[in-house]
Amino acid sequence: MILSVEKLLVKYGTNIAVDQIDIQVDKGEVVCILGANGAGKSSLLRALLGHTKSSGIVKFKDNDVSSHSATQRVRDGLVLVPEGRKILTSLSVEENLLMGAHLRYDKDIYTDIKKVYEMFPNLSTRSFMSASVLSGGEQQMLAVGRALLAKPSLLMLDEPSLGLSPLIVEELFGVIQTLNREGMSILIVEQNARKALQVSNRAYVMELGKIVQKGISKDLMSDEKIVSAYLGSE
């Protein structure tokens, strides 16, 4: 088990965003968390990163990291691709990638950057341009590339398909599947439930801060309640 969360609670003042939830991600697994706007999905990921105050136990790679700072967790390999991509537009494309690797001191950084460029050729042709010239899809690729440079053991993606064209979403989920085939554990939070269920092994459904359903993704895809609430008729 790479990530195990017990009784995680996130409160903003008196509002409870994440209400005592338990989640597990096994090594090499893709797990998705479905839920509507305001279900507490992003708060959950931010709490996992140590960016938002929370109580409960977060175990990562069998260590209790509940008291660790975001810096320590990123260094350990718990890396987030934030919602809305959060590209640094005053930096160049390559500098954005280097920011992903800013906690590393090994010599392989530039080899890893090359790998990212091979994965996303659009980025390599623009490596010295400002990241602000990238399209939405390219920005998402850059955000994923930046996260990969932190050498994640668990890659967390917050709404990766938000605002992207269907073609780009296809490409993005293709990349996610490739990464998973190479052995990376992945946790995706998505509103695009159909796509997320297709690529994931297991899924959790969140409503108002609570996990209301969990199971194998394939089973959930034929579950009537899930179909009517998240997938719709097609």
């Binding site: 990163l49 960016h51 700072s69 975001a70 810096t71 967790r73 990123v74 260094r75 987030l80 934030p82 959060k86 640094l88 537009t89 005053s90 930096l91 500098e95 280097l98 920011m99 992903g100 800013h102 906690l103 400002s130 602000s132 930046r146 932190a150």
Partner: protein
């Protein structure tokens, strides 16, 4: 020829404004607040150097005055430490308590508090009268094709431009520079990437302390007369220079600072000392009307500053 001489003197005076303007612009660009402790930091460096050169270290560590150059170096160190104290109590402490990372009103107001504290401590201990700093040389100058170049002034221009150039180079190419630019653009994203924002922000205040200290040392050597109020005049002109050049842009602050220096000297030459403020603030007004974002400023402040 006289005109060229005046312009050169103006540029050399501008060198001091440049450093203070860069200190202001750095804090605005990075942390989004106008740091009012810059004028007292400038003053603190000069007054502490003067006190050390006059009385020596306290508690009998040295008996009597210490060398003026050593005094100046200690003065710069004291300024850097003071700037870090300011960071501890204006930026970090208050921000932790009240949340919002971009809330700039709280550090702004508490930096005004530090302005009063520093100024009044100096007034209590050393009085408010101008005092003479014991620089052992006077009017050392080079003659060059009929132009007179004061060596301390020339040194101040060279030192200030090279410090600023180095700073800009550091921000552009080094890792710490990249991290600082990320914090400047979006502290929240920087945190997500694992940047220890609270460990990095003091670096900015260290640079601010250094810039104020060195600017003040150069001012002291050039003019030899210091008081508890020298920071106000210099900082006011530096702010004018910064706004003329464009907020949050280092090279804008350089251009603006030099321009203010030249304007000051030229208006003294042509119209007399009383007109300095009119021409500096007049130039600011003209710039604000023609190009409100300043010469090098972007319309969207907070992006692509360096």
């Amino acid at each position: 020829m006289i005109l060229i001489q005046q312009i050169i003197s103006g540029l050399m005076l501008g060198g001091i404004y440049v450093m203070v303007a860069v200190a202001f612009t750095l804090v605005i660009g990075m942390l989004n607040f106008l740091n009012f402790t810059i004028p007292p930091l400038f003053m603190l460096s000069a007054m502490m150097s003067w006190a050390l050169a006059k009385y020596g270290l306290p508690f009998g560590i040295t008996d009597g005055p210490i060398n003026w150059l050593v005094a100046i170096f200690i003065g710069i160190l004291i300024t850097i430490v003071a700037s870090l104290i300011v960071e501890r109590f204006t930026y970090r402490y208050l921000k932790n308590r009240y949340g919002d990372a971009t809330e700039h009103a709280i550090p702004l107001v508490s930096s005004i508090g530090f302005l009063l504290i520093f100024t009044n401590i100096i007034i209590i201990y050393f009085g408010s009268e101008p005092v003479k700093f014991p620089v052992p040389f006077e009017n050392v100058s080079l003659k060059f094709f009929g132009l007179v170049l004061g060596i301390p002034q020339l040194a101040s221009l060279i030192i200030s431009v090279s410090i600023v150039w180095f700073l800009s180079y550091m921000l552009k190419t080094t890792k710490i520079g990249r991290v600082l630019r990320s914090i400047a653009e979006n502290p929240d994203t920087a945190l997500i990437l694992g940047v220890k924002v609270f460990a990095i922000v003091p670096v900015i205040f260290l640079i601010v302390g250094l810039l104020c200290g060195v600017a003040s040392a150069l001012f002291t050597i050039n003019y030899t007369e210091v008081s508890a109020f020298i920071g106000d005049e210099v900082a006011a002109k530096a702010i004018a220079g910064m706004v003329i050049g464009g907020l949050g842009n280092i090279w804008g602050a350089v251009a603006g600072g030099l321009l203010v220096g030249v304007l000051e000297v030229l208006s003294i030459h042509f119209f007399g000392a009383d007109t300095v403020k009119i021409s500096v603030w007049g130039a600011l007004l003209v710039i604000l009307i023609i190009k409100p974002q300043g010469i090098f400023g972007h319309v969207k402040i907070g992006k692509e500053k360096f």
